[in-house]
Amino acid sequence: MSISSTFHKWGSPRWFYQFSGRLLPWLAILSLLLLVGGAVWGLAFVPADYKQGNSFRIMYIHVPAAAVAMGAYMTMATAGAIHLIWRMKLAAMVMKAIAPIGASLTFLSLLTGAVWGKPTWGTWWVWDARITSVLILFFLYLGVIALHQAFENRDAAAKACAVLAIVGAVNIPIIYWSVEWWYSLHQPASISFTGESTIHPSMLRPLMATLCGMYLFFGWLLLLYTRIEILEREKNTRWVQDLICGESR
């Protein structure tokens, strides 16, 4: 099959709806297994960290949330670019579906980071380079969501958000690098260790499980939300009406 015909097939909401329907149960089962399994493993079976004690167990939820939130923004910007360049409607739906999921995951990683900070650093919030970067990522998500809500015209909203997401994605490396640089100027002496240096290999295995689980969970949610977008936008087409009301009407 040629590239362009694959592209057209993927761009068809109907084909995507049917294909994703077959994928959904597998994603749900696998992601929940990995997330729950990894969490139980990390909570109860991994030995405590010799420096941080037991608080490091928050890592198994904090790190996956932050990683997936970051990846989700890049996916959103890519979908936006595809929508702008090839005018693929499905990409606009994917983009709209990602924003609330990504924002929730970013919020989650900020919150778990704060709760992790209290027992380890003795304070809820530290203006650490990585935390600050995640906070800015959260702001970028909120900007996209706010812009989308402000438009009444759905197509214009999608295009405007695509432009903003791309501008944001281009700026993210610059922002992260600036924040790193800013932090290196003001590094407080009280934070003497970083996450990775004390991590024992045996502690990483549950992290791999929850990380994969979170990616799959994100994929599952993304499909769920995109399918709802498809139903809402294609509500006047024959295939959607047949699908919802049965073909025998």
Partner: protein, 228 residues
């Protein structure tokens, strides 16, 4: 289009925009008044001790200048959008890129540049140490031009919306962060007696990057806003 013609177009748009905003007055004076007023609020909020103010002055001056530039950005395309000049700009076969570039530069000349020129006076009010004055001006001259370009993207995206103002700040502020970091750090470095040229060089890099790429995003955003 030949080069002299392109240059003529840029100059024509620049001239028209600058004359129009100078005639209106409020467009260039309001950000300045805002800058002065908000800077005057800080001593009232944190107390009049000169050493404390001096410590905070680089950050305060930069954040307030950033906000003043942000507030001015909302009006960048508003007038042209309302009287359909923007639509004509898009319809004519003259390329949009130089026109957008000229409009953004004109906007910076009537907002960012006056802010930078006024900043030493506000530095005095906030007891900014003397070594910081020149870096403050230089970093603001470079930095506000980047802010104008980034802000113009947001203004172009929100120009078709009725309640654009607050939304504009939500989408643009996170993108301002690198400029703020390097701008205020240049002033701080100068006060501490360290080299501040590296920070200014970074702002220069940001300016060149914004000059090259921001007009592309602005053009795309304007098309979306006018088409809807």
């Amino acid at each position: 289009m030949s080069e002299p013609k392109l240059l003529k177009l840029v100059i024509a748009v620049l001239h028209r925009d600058i004359v129009a905003s100078l005639r209106r007055g409020s467009e260039w004076s309001n950000p300045l008044v805002f800058f002065v007023m908000v800077c005057a609020l800080f001593p009232l909020g944190i107390g009049p001790q000169p050493d404390r103010l001096a410590d905070l002055a680089p950050g305060i001056l930069w954040v307030v200048a950033l906000l003043a530039s942000l507030l001015a950005t909302d009006s960048l395309f508003r007038g042209d959008f309302d009287d359909a000049t923007l639509e004509q700009m898009l319809l004519t076969h003259q390329s949009l890129y130089p026109q957008v570039l000229a409009k953004t530069l004109a906007h910076w000349l009537v907002t960012g540049l006056p802010l930078s020129l006024l900043s030493p006076m506000l530095g005095l009010l906030l007891h900014l140490p003397g070594e910081g004055t020149v870096p403050l001006m230089l970093s603001l001259v470079l930095g506000t031009s980047v802010l104008s370009f980034i802000g113009a993207i947001g203004a172009a995206l929100t120009v078709g919306l009725r309640k654009g103002g607050l939304l504009l700040s939500l989408i643009v502020l996170p993108l301002y962060i690198p400029v703020l970091i390097f701008g205020s750090s240049a002033v701080k470095a100068a006060i501490e007696g360290a080299a501040y040229l590296p920070q200014l060089a970074m702002l220069g890099v940001f300016f060149l990057g914004a000059l090259a790429f921001a007009p592309l995003a602005i053009c795309g955003a304007l098309r979306i806003s006018v088409d809807q």
